[in-house]
């Protein structure tokens, strides 16, 4: 083989550099998110499993119901009534965006644009 002295070290160097993110992060898994649940309330508007996976769908649904259909009251599966409002209902219990929303959103690398208009609770007040 011609130029094996250059090609083989070159390949090794390339593979090493290419896989750098893999071996440099080996054994250093990012800690799982720990969203802080509200202490005042035990139940949410739907059960926890649904909220974990479908809260964004629920929020979109709420938006359409409130803005388009003028229905502002949500009756949960347990019959309890809530105002459908991110700022005035969700964030009243989940009073800290950084300790709740951001925990998973940062971990998953998603940046919801809710907060460009909706006001997050004033923390440390």
């Amino acid at each position: 083989m011609y130029d094996s002295g250059k090609i083989i070290p070159g390949i090794i160097l390339f593979v090493g550099l290419f896989t750098f993110p893999l071996w440099s992060n080996l054994g250093k898994a990012a800690p799982a998110p720990k969203p802080e649940l509200p202490k005042t309330e035990k139940v949410c508007v739907m059960d926890a499993a649904f909220m974990k996976t479908e809260h964004m769908v629920l929020l979109n649904d709420w938006r359409d119901k409130v803005v388009r259909e003028a229905n502002r009251v949500w009756v949960g599966p347990d019959g309890k009534e809530y105002q459908m409002s991110l700022q005035n209902s969700c964030m009243q219990c989940h009073a800290s965006k950084t300790k709740f929303c951001d925990q998973c959103h940062n971990y998953a690398g998603v940046k919801p644009y809710c907060w460009e208009c909706h006001l997050e609770p004033k923390e440390n007040m």
Partner: protein, 263 residues
């Protein structure tokens, strides 16, 4: 009682239909799942309208430079005060006679009419051009009560509505409006807007839903602002309109504005 085969088959058919409908009724009656409904406190109307008594308003303005309605509206809805008139956000604002009523302005009108500012807001038209031109249906006329509303989530900032609205009732956010809002004064119960969306007066839809009058009406100590259901002959606005001659802005355009002015 005689029963022929024809009669028997008819009754039999209806009975089978009835039996098959039973499980459907049961399923509907049980309906325990989550559901949405209107707030029981919400105010109802066929078409909301407003009467602005400029005589009362001017009296108050002369007395103490009154801006109560504007201050209340802007505070509640987090409307920023932007000094640059090209970028300002208007929900309820003051304008000269010749600009408010260009088709009626006449140079020999009484001085107090020509010189005094008129209080303007979105007319919540019966036939709103802004709704017709909106390509995303972000602006819509609510069928229940005729309020022309915006779904800011859907606004793409094309500004067709601003071109369509003959009343200048719409404003575009050229930048982040929060830069012009005092964080201490901000109303935590209402969102702000973001860069790149259009906004306007919403007839306080969020307050009507709680059984409260629009913020400007509530704030006006001179009682110059009256709101009500224009389709209800017994409403306060209809009684005022029946008793006094009123003006509307640019009616020849056929938009059917629902804000009336007493001069």
């Amino acid at each position: 009682m005689e029963k022929d085969r024809r009669e028997f088959l008819k009754i039999g058919g209806i009975s089978v239909l009835g039996l098959s409908a039973l499980p459907v009724f049961e399923a509907l009656a049980q309906g325990q799942g989550p559901k949405a409904m209107p707030d029981p406190r919400a105010l109802q109307a066929g078409q909301w309208a407003m009467v602005v008594d400029m005589k009362k308003c001017w009296e108050e303005q002369e007395k103490r430079q009154c801006k109560d309605c504007m201050d209340a509206c802007h505070k509640i809805h987090n409307v920023p005060t932007i000094p640059d008139p090209k970028r300002e956000i208007k929900w309820i604002w003051l304008e000269e006679y010749k600009h408010a009523f260009p088709d009626q302005a006449n140079e020999y009108a009484p001085e107090h009419v020509k010189e005094s500012p008129f209080l303007l807001l979105c007319n919540h038209c019966s036939n709103p051009p802004c709704v017709q031109v909106c390509p995303t249906k972000a602006t819509f006329k609510r069928a229940e009560d005729g309020v022309v509303l915006m779904d800011f989530h859907r606004c793409i900032g094309c500004r067709y509505c601003m071109a369509g609205c003959p009343y200048g009732a719409r404003s575009f956010n050229w930048g982040d409006p929060r830069e012009y809002l005092d964080p201490q004064q901000i109303n935590q119960a209402f969102p702000t807007r973001r860069k790149g969306v259009v906004e306007k007066c919403n007839f306080c839809a969020e307050r009507l839903a709680e059984g409260l009058p629009p913020a400007c009406v509530e704030a006006c100590k001179a009682k110059a602002l009256v709101y009500g259901d224009i389709t209800d002959p017994e409403s306060e606005v209809r009684k005022i309109l029946a008793g006094q001659y009123t003006l509307r802005r640019k009616i020849a355009l056929g938009t059917g504005p629902n804000v009336y002015y007493i001069i």
